[in-house]
């Protein structure tokens, strides 16, 4: 990823998403009204988080198969940025819930699942902090990363679908599904997902380069 073109695309798309997302016409839906615009900023955070965590697990597996320190640095940094996305996702969700549901924390299954996902990765960082030997730290945290990610999937993807939820898209609430995701919204939503993800990748690449340089300096 030496070329910079994808960074330009990310920035341009994000400018487009901000301008279009806030100014273009949005469909009128019951209850949601103007808060439907949260779709462009809140939902891409979760897509970004899950994708970044997946890449983190991918590098964890790669590290276990072939212990290079680079794979470990990448795995941690993807997890860091994924967690940042998750925290932003929770905060934007709380802001939205405050206007739509009447309180920032509503105990909705999706909110709880998201909070637990963050707990898993915060525990991962605590684990990394409490092992001194670098090689051992990398191996044990890679094992926990894979295990925790696999244990998290039922939480995020299955359990909210088993219970009634007030979250848009569940239980007959209007939201993210093929029927009422208006074609005008799609024009902004898909670029938004791509843009936020590209920005996430950019942050990760900077952090990875910084960490690798730091490691070289200390060696």
């Amino acid at each position: 990823m030496k070329q910079n073109w994808w960074k330009y695309i990310g920035v341009l798309l994000l400018i487009y998403v901000h301008l279009g997302g806030l100014m273009l016409e949005a469909p009128r839906l019951n209850i949601l009204n103007e808060t439907v615009r949260a779709l462009y900023f809140h939902v891409p955070m979760w897509f970004g988080m899950v994708l970044l965590y997946m890449i983190s697990v991918f590098y964890a597996i790669k590290f276990l198969r072939n212990p290079l320190s680079d794979a470990d640095v990448k795995s941690v940094e993807y997890a860091h940025v994924g967690t940042a996305f998750g925290i932003l996702g929770i905060l934007t969700g709380m802001l939205w819930a405050n206007y739509t549901w009447g309180s920032p924390w509503h105990g909705d299954p999706k909110q709880n699942g998201a909070a637990i996902a963050l707990l898993v990765y915060l525990a991962y960082f605590v684990l990394r902090g409490s092992i001194e030997n670098d090689e051992q730290k990398a191996r044990l945290s890679a094992v926990y990363n894979i295990f925790a990610f696999a244990a998290m999937i039922p939480l995020i993807f299955i359990i909210p679908r088993l219970t009634d939820s007030m979250h848009p898209g569940n239980g007959g609430n209007p939201g993210f599904n093929a029927y009422d995701l208006d074609s005008r919204m799609r024009l902004i939503f898909y670029p938004a997902v791509a843009a936020w993800f590209l920005i996430g990748l950019w942050i990760v690449s900077l952090r990875v380069r910084y960490r690798i340089l730091q490691n070289h300096l200390t060696e």
Binding site: A123, F147, A148
Partner: protein
């Protein structure tokens, strides 16, 4: 090899009577605290509270007693075992042994709850099946996490921090089935949850089996 390791675990456990007594007393104290704090001589609690209390007591006593599966072991002893057996045999024997221990704890907990707090369960058969399933899930997750935590500095705190988020999905399913068992709803209504629990157990056991070889070497 697995059978031999399993025998070793059980004989070691039976030899150290104080450890079993400690675990039993821990369970009893937790149940008794629930009994005292809710002032249950005068009041009674509803079914949902019973289920919440029961699973909290089971969670804490199981996490604390299964934590010692790797944390308590002496370093030299571990190296000796590892020179004798394959990592797969070690983790499988630990999982089987811990399942038995967790199941014993759950049943003892149920007995204590029946004595002190009462037993509002209508479908006991379903509830015991749930206890068996959760014991398998708890033991396979906790055996691996105990292996990870034993290598770190503050093992005991880390054990709780690492295991709770992972156990929540098992616990959520268990609480949902418990609700059905408490209300005496037909068994067919709980098939989905039981199947989910079984799937989570399979994932956890398979992962523990695959990942343990990477942690035992260090």
């Amino acid at each position: 090899m697995i059978v031999a390791l399993l025998k070793k675990e059980i004989t070691l456990e039976l030899r150290k009577k104080s450890v079993i007594a400690g675990i039993g007393l821990y369970l009893f104290s937790l149940t008794f605290i629930c009994y005292i704090t809710f002032a249950l001589r005068q009041n009674s609690i509803n079914a949902a509270t019973w289920s919440a209390l029961f699973w909290l007591v089971i969670l804490f006593s199981v996490v604390n007693s299964l934590a010692k599966s790797f944390i308590g072991e002496k370093k030299g002893l571990a190296i000796y075992y590892y020179s004798l057996a394959s990592p797969q045999a070690i983790i499988l024997s630990k999982i089987i042994y811990n399942t038995l221990l967790a199941l014993l704890l759950s049943l003892a907990g149920l007995l204590l709850f029946t004595l002190l707090i009462g037993n509002p369960i209508q479908d006991l058969r379903l509830f015991i099946v749930t206890l068996i399933f959760t014991s398998i899930g708890f033991s396979s997750s906790l055996s691996l996490i105990s292996g990870i935590a034993s290598k770190a500095n503050n093992s005991n705190i880390l054990m709780a921090v690492l295991s709770f988020p992972v156990l929540i999905s098992i616990l959520l399913m268990a609480i949902r089935i418990t609700k059905n068992a408490l209300d005496g709803i037909d068994l067919a209504a709980s098939y989905d949850e039981l199947l989910n629990l079984l799937a989570i157990n399979c994932i956890a056991t398979a992962l523990a089996y695959l990942l343990f070889p990477y942690i035992w070497r260090s």
